[in-house]
C-alpha cells in the first residue's frame, strides 16, 4: 500500500520511529523474582520487534521494589540492571525497532506485593485503600516523595545508559502518578493535594528531575489518563479527573518538556472501560486466588468470581459503563482533544487492531500513533500483516484472558478459540522461553513469531 499513514515515520523532538505502531506496555511474569531480568524478556520483546512495530514501550518497569505490581517483573531500581536492559535493547534494535522504558511505580496498586513488600503497605498519595481489591497504603511523607522523585530520575539515567531510545512515565491507570493526579484518590492537604496544579506537582517534579539527570536531548513521554472514570465499577465512588483537568495536566507536562503524550483512561487497572472487551469470570476464578492475600477486599471479589450465582452481580457492575465506548479505539475521541490542545505528538492506546481504524485516526488527526497490546500478543506480526493490506487470520477477540492469566502465568494469548486445542495454545505461550538463556546446539537463536502457523509469512529478518 502506497503512502500508508501507518507506515510513515514519526518524528519526535529527540526520536524518530519508523512507523506509527507502538507496542503498548505489557509485562508478563517472565523474569527473575527479584526483578533482575532474564533471556525470556529479550525473547518476548524480540517477537514484537520482529513483527514490525516501530517502537516497544516496555513492561511496567518499577523504579523501586516498593513499586512493583507483580513479582517477576524486571526493574530498573539499581545500576546492576543496566546490562540486562542493554541486552534486551540490543536484541530489538536489530529490527530497527525503538525501545522506550516505562518508568513506573505502583503506589498502592500492587496486585501481588511479593515477599519483599508483603509486610509494608504501599506508598501512595493517600492512606485510603484501593477501591477494587482493598489494597492498603499509607500517604507518602515529604521524604518519601523526594525519594520517589530521585528514583525516577535515576531510572531514567539507567535507561539512557542502557541504550534505550526514551522513557515513558506511567502516569495513568491508577498507579502512583494517577494516585497523585486524580481528584478521586488524592486527599492530601499539603502542596501535593488540592487543585489540579498541586496534584500535578509530583509529576512535574519527576519530569524536572529526569530532565536534570538526562538532559533535554533524551526522549521522555508521559502516559496520561484522559478521564479517570473512578465510578465506573462502583457508582458510589468518586468520578475523578475530567477531560478538562487532564488536558491541563498534559499541558503542564508539555511545558516541563515531555516529548509526547500517550493517552489512555482509567482510575484503576484493569478498569471496566480499559482494556476494552470481555472480563472472563472463569479465568478470574482460576487465577484471581493468587491475589487473595493482597487486599482486604480480595476474598470478597474472589467469592464474586468463584460462585457462579454471584458472577452476574459483579459483571453487571463491571459492564454497566462499557456500553458508552467502542471496543476498538476506546478513547480515540478523548485523544483527539489532546491532539488539539498539545503540540507534542499524541500516542493513543485502547483496542487498536483494525488497520482501517488506525489509518483513520492517524490521517484524520486524532492521534499521531497508536499503541497496541493485546492484538500484538495474539499476532506479534500484526504490523507486517497490516503493511501487506491483510487482516489477521485469527484476530484478537479482546477476551482479556491474557490479562487475567498475567496474574499467575507466563503472558501470552490464552484465547482457546484462536487455537486448535489447549496444548497448541500452551505450546505457543511457552515459546517465550526459547531460545534459552544458555544456548542449546541445534535450537534456533531467534524467537519464532506467533501464531506459529503464520510465523514466517510476514516475518522480518534481523537487519
Amino acid at each position: 500500500m502506497e503512502n500508508d499513514p501507518i507506515f510513515q515515520p514519526l518524528k519526535f523532538r529527540n526520536l524518530t520511529v519508523k512507523n506509527r505502531i507502538f507496542r503498548s506496555s505489557i509485562s508478563g511474569r517472565f523474569d527473575n523474582y527479584d526483578g533482575s531480568g532474564n533471556q525470556a524478556r529479550a525473547n518476548w520483546e524480540e517477537k514484537f520487534a520482529k513483527g514490525g512495530v516501530g517502537a516497544i514501550i516496555t513492561s511496567f518497569v518499577p523504579v523501586h521494589i516498593t513499586g512493583r505490581i507483580l513479582p517477576n517483573y524486571p526493574m530498573i531500581d539499581a545500576d546492576d540492571k543496566i546490562p540486562f536492559w542493554r541486552h534486551v535493547i540490543d536484541t530489538v534494535h536489530k529490527y530497527d525497532c525503538r525501545f522506550i522504558i516505562q518508568l513506573s511505580h505502583s503506589g498502592r496498586q500492587r496486585d501481588v506485593p511479593g515477599v519483599e513488600n508483603f509486610m509494608h503497605p504501599g506508598i501512595s498519595s493517600t492512606s485510603k485503600q484501593d477501591t477494587f481489591h482493598g489494597l492498603l497504603c499509607q500517604a507518602a511523607t515529604q521524604k518519601q516523595i523526594d525519594d520517589l522523585v530521585s528514583w525516577f530520575a535515576q531510572g531514567a539515567r539507567r535507561a539512557r545508559e542502557a541504550g534505550a531510545d526514551g522513557v515513558e512515565l506511567h502516569s495513568s491507570h491508577g498507579y502512583l502518578f494517577t494516585q497523585f493526579l486524580s481528584s478521586a484518590i488524592n486527599d492530601r492537604k499539603d502542596k501535593y493535594g488540592g487543585d489540579v496544579e498541586n496534584r500535578a506537582r509530583f509529576l512535574v517534579e519527576v519530569i524536572r528531575a529526569i530532565r536534570k539527570e538526562v538532559g533535554n536531548d533524551f526522549h521522555v513521554q508521559a502516559k496520561l489518563n484522559a478521564v479517570d472514570a473512578g465510578n465506573a465499577l462502583y457508582p458510589w465512588e468518586k468520578k475523578g479527573n475530567s477531560l478538562e483537568e487532564s488536558l491541563q495536566i498534559a499541558k503542564m507536562a508539555e511545558a516541563e518538556g515531555v516529548d509526547a503524550v500517550h493517552v489512555s483512561i482509567g482510575s484503576i487497572f484493569p478498569h471496566p472501560q480499559l482494556p476494552s472487551g470481555a472480563f472472563p469470570p472463569d479465568e478470574l476464578n482460576w487465577w484471581y486466588g493468587g491475589m487473595g492475600s493482597s487486599g482486604v477486599r480480595a476474598y470478597l471479589n474472589y467469592a464474586m468470581f468463584h460462585f457462579k450465582i454471584l458472577r452476574p452481580v459483579f459483571l453487571y457492575l463491571w459492564n454497566r459503563s462499557k456500553k458508552q465506548r467502542p471496543i476498538e479505539g476506546v478513547c480515540a475521541e478523548e485523544a483527539r482533544e489532546f491532539k488539539k490542545a498539545l503540540k507534542v505528538p499524541i500516542i493513543n492506546t485502547g483496542g487498536y487492531q483494525d488497520g482501517d481504524l488506525i489509518r483513520k485516526v492517524i490521517s484524520e488527526g486524532y492521534v499521531d500513533a497508536v499503541s497496541i497490546a493485546r492484538p500484538l500478543i495474539a499476532n506479534n506480526n500484526l504490523p507486517l500483516i497490516l503493511k501487506h493490506g491483510d487482516v489477521p487470520e485469527r484476530p484478537c477477540t479482546f477476551c482479556n484472558r491474557c490479562l487475567v492469566n498475567a496474574i499467575a502465568n507466563p503472558l501470552g494469548c490464552y484465547e482457546p478459540r484462536r487455537f486448535r486445542d489447549h496444548e497448541e495454545m500452551i505450546k505457543e505461550v511457552m515459546t517465550v522461553y526459547r531460545p534459552q538463556p544458555f544456548p542449546v546446539p541445534g535450537e534456533p537463536t531467534s524467537v519464532a513469531l506467533s501464531p506459529s502457523w503464520e510465523a514466517n509469512k510476514h516475518g522480518a529478518e534481523p537487519g
Binding site: 516498593t66 508483603f118 509486610m119 509494608h120 503497605p121 506508598i123 492512606s127 485510603k128 485503600q129 482493598g134 492498603l136 497504603c137 499509607q138 518519601q144 492475600s293 493482597s294 487486599g295 482486604v296
Partner: protein, 538 residues
C-alpha cells in the same frame, strides 16, 4: 479509611524502608509470627465482624429469652378483682422445651375457639355457666398470664367459687365472690376444649383467619409460631389430656357432673399422677360433688375439711384445691395463692338478701337446737367465728349419715399416698391427708347461698332436705339462678329460659343419690318451715 495497622496491635510495624519485625511470643511454637498489613486489617475487621455477629446473636438470645421465658401477669389491687381474675399459676409454664401444666389453650385461641367449631358450643362460653363481667374479655375465674411466648389462659379459685343469684327472672344477676359456682358446667367446658381442638376445623388458617375477622392482628412472627408450633402444641396437650382425662369427660361412661359440681379427686389422679383411670373401678369415677363456699375460712382451720374431711389443714386444703385448678408444683404462683387464701380467711359470708320472719326464725332456732342440728353444724354465730356444737367439723361415719358414698369412696388410700409425693422436700409437702369413713359436718354460714344441698348437690333446697328420701325430688333442673325464698335454694322446676336449656339432674344415677341425712325429716311442716327460716339467718 486510615490504614494504620501499627495502631491495631500496639506494635511498631515496619516503615516503608524498614525491616519486618517479628512479634516476640513467649512460646516457641507459634503459627502466627507475622502479621501482614492485610492480616491486621482483616483481623480488626474480624474482631468487629465477630463482635457484630456476637452482638446480633446476643440480641436474638435476649429477644428469645424476653419472648419465651417471660412470665408476667396482671396484678389487681382490689382483692375481689384479684380473686376473680388474678392468676394462681395454672397456665402452662415451666420452660419452653419442657412445658408443664395448663388445662386451656392460649388466650387468643381460647377466645376464638367457639367460632372455630360453632356447632359444639352454640351459646358460647356463657352457655356453660361462665360469668362475664363488664370490662373483662375473659369470664370470672379465667386468668391471663404471659408464659412460653404467648398470652396463656388458666383458671383460678373464682371459677368454681363465684356464684350468682337473681331475685326474679328479669332481675339483676348478683355475682357473689366465694359462693359455689352454681351454674358452672366445668365438665362440658373441658369436653368442649377437647373436642374443638381435636376437630378437623382447628387449623391454622381457620384460627388465624377468624382472629383476623375479630380484629386480632398477629405479627408475622406470631403467625409463624402459630403455624409452626402453637397449634400443634395445643393439639398435643389436648391429646395428652384426652388420654388422661377423656374418660371423665364422657357422660356416657361416668355420671355427668352438671352445673355446680366437679369430681374433685379423679381428675387430680389423672393430671397430677397420670393414673390410668380406665383401670380403676368404674364406681370410683362417679364422684361429682358440689362446690363448697370459700368465705369465712379462718374459723374452719383445724376442722376436717373437704366433704369427707380428709384434711384438717387449711393451707394444705388450699394448695390441694389449687392443684385441682390445674397448677402444678412447677407452675404454681404461691404468692398469689397465698393472697387469695389470706383474703378468704376473713371474707364475710353474705347475708340472706331477702326479708326474714324474725318470730318464725326464733322458733326455728329452738327447734334447731332441740333437733340436735347444732351439735353437728354449729349455729348462726359461726359467721362471726363462734364455734358451737361438739361434732362441728368432724366426720360422721357413712353408715350413720347414709348419704351417697361414692364421693367418699373416690378418695382412696393409694391416692392419699400419692399426694404425699407432691412438693417433696419442701415446706409445701402434704402431711395431713387421711382416708376417712364418712362425711364431715359442715358449718352452715350463708347456707342459703350454697344450694343445692348435700355433698353431691342431690337435694335442691333446704326445705326438701328436711323431707324423707321419698319426698325429695327425683329429678330437678339445675343451673337456673332465680332464688326460691320459700324453700331456700334455687328454683328447680324451670327447664329452659330463652335459648338456654337447663340441666335435668337425675338422682338415680351413680353418685347422684339423694338418700341419707334424715335429720329433722320427722318434724311437722310448720316446724320445718321455721327451721328453714332460722337457717336464713346463718
Amino acid at each position: 479509611m486510615a490504614q494504620n495497622p501499627a495502631k491495631i496491635e500496639g506494635q511498631t510495624l515496619p516503615t516503608i524502608e524498614g525491616q519486618t519485625r517479628v512479634q516476640a511470643k513467649d512460646r516457641e511454637l507459634v503459627d502466627n509470627v507475622y502479621g501482614s498489613p492485610v492480616d491486621l486489617w482483616q483481623h480488626r475487621f474480624r474482631r468487629i465482624g465477630c463482635g457484630i455477629i456476637f452482638l446480633i446473636l446476643l440480641l436474638i438470645i435476649l429477644w428469645a429469652i424476653w419472648r419465651f421465658e417471660r412470665d408476667t401477669t396482671e396484678s389487681y389491687a382490689d382483692n375481689v378483682e384479684h380473686f376473680k381474675y388474678g392468676s394462681i399459676g395454672s397456665e402452662p409454664g415451666g420452660s419452653l422445651m419442657d412445658s408443664q401444666g395448663g388445662l386451656l389453650p392460649p388466650y387468643e385461641i381460647f377466645r376464638v375457639l367457639p367460632q372455630v367449631t360453632p356447632d359444639r358450643l352454640p351459646g358460647g362460653y356463657e352457655s356453660l355457666g361462665l360469668t362475664f363481667e363488664k370490662g373483662h374479655d375473659l369470664p370470672v375465674g379465667v386468668t391471663k398470664r404471659y408464659r412460653l411466648g404467648f398470652e396463656q389462659v388458666g383458671v383460678n379459685c373464682a371459677l368454681c367459687h363465684t356464684g350468682t343469684w337473681r331475685e326474679t327472672p328479669a332481675g339483676e344477676r348478683h355475682i357473689v365472690a366465694g359462693m359455689p359456682a352454681n351454674r358452672l358446667q366445668i365438665q362440658r367446658l373441658f369436653k368442649f376444649i377437647l373436642d374443638s381442638t381435636l376437630d378437623e376445623r382447628f387449623t391454622a388458617d381457620n384460627v388465624i383467619g377468624l382472629m383476623k375477622r375479630n380484629g386480632v392482628h398477629l405479627s408475622w412472627m406470631d403467625r409463624l409460631l402459630y403455624r409452626a408450633t402453637l397449634l400443634a402444641r395445643v393439639r398435643e396437650a389436648t391429646l395428652q389430656m384426652q388420654g388422661r382425662m377423656g374418660l371423665l369427660m364422657d357422660p356416657a361412661q361416668v355420671t355427668e357432673w352438671g352445673p355446680g359440681r366437679v369430681d374433685t379427686f379423679n381428675p387430680y389422679k389423672a393430671l397430677q399422677f397420670n393414673w390410668p383411670l380406665a383401670q380403676l373401678p368404674r364406681q370410683e369415677l362417679n364422684a361429682p360433688s358440689d362446690y363448697p363456699s370459700l368465705w369465712n375460712q379462718a374459723p374452719r382451720d383445724g376442722m376436717d375439711l373437704h366433704w369427707d374431711g380428709n384434711n384438717a389443714s387449711l393451707a394444705e386444703r388450699n394448695l390441694s384445691a389449687s392443684l385441682g385448678a390445674g397448677v402444678t408444683p412447677v407452675t404454681i404462683d404461691h404468692p398469689n395463692v397465698d393472697r387469695v387464701a389470706a383474703w378468704a380467711r376473713t371474707l364475710p359470708a353474705p347475708k340472706y338478701p331477702f326479708a326474714i320472719d324474725a318470730a318464725k326464725a326464733t322458733r326455728g332456732q329452738a327447734l334447731y337446737t332441740a333437733a340436735h342440728c347444732l351439735d353437728c353444724h354449729g349455729d348462726h354465730r359461726f359467721r362471726d367465728g363462734v364455734k358451737t356444737g361438739q361434732y362441728l367439723g368432724k366426720v360422721t361415719p357413712i353408715a350413720e349419715i347414709g348419704t351417697d358414698p361414692l364421693r367418699l369412696n373416690s378418695y382412696t388410700f393409694p391416692f392419699a399416698s400419692n399426694q404425699y409425693t407432691l412438693y417433696p422436700e419442701s415446706k409445701y409437702s402434704f402431711r395431713h391427708f387421711k382416708k376417712t369413713g364418712g362425711y364431715a359436718n359442715q358449718p352452715l354460714d350463708a347456707i342459703w347461698a350454697r344450694g343445692p344441698y348435700l355433698h353431691n348437690g342431690s337435694v335442691p333446697t333446704l326445705r326438701d332436705l328436711l323431707e324423707p328420701d321419698a319426698n325429695r325430688p327425683a329429678t330437678f333442673y339445675k343451673g337456673y339462678d332465680v332464688y326460691d325464698q320459700q324453700k331456700v335454694g334455687f328454683v328447680y322446676n324451670v327447664a329452659s329460659e330463652g335459648a338456654t336449656q337447663y340441666y335435668l339432674f337425675d338422682t338415680s344415677k351413680p353418685g347422684n343419690g339423694k338418700a341419707g341425712h334424715y335429720y329433722g325429716t320427722t318434724l311437722s311442716p310448720d316446724e320445718k318451715d321455721a327451721l328453714v327460716e332460722y337457717m336464713k339467718t346463718f
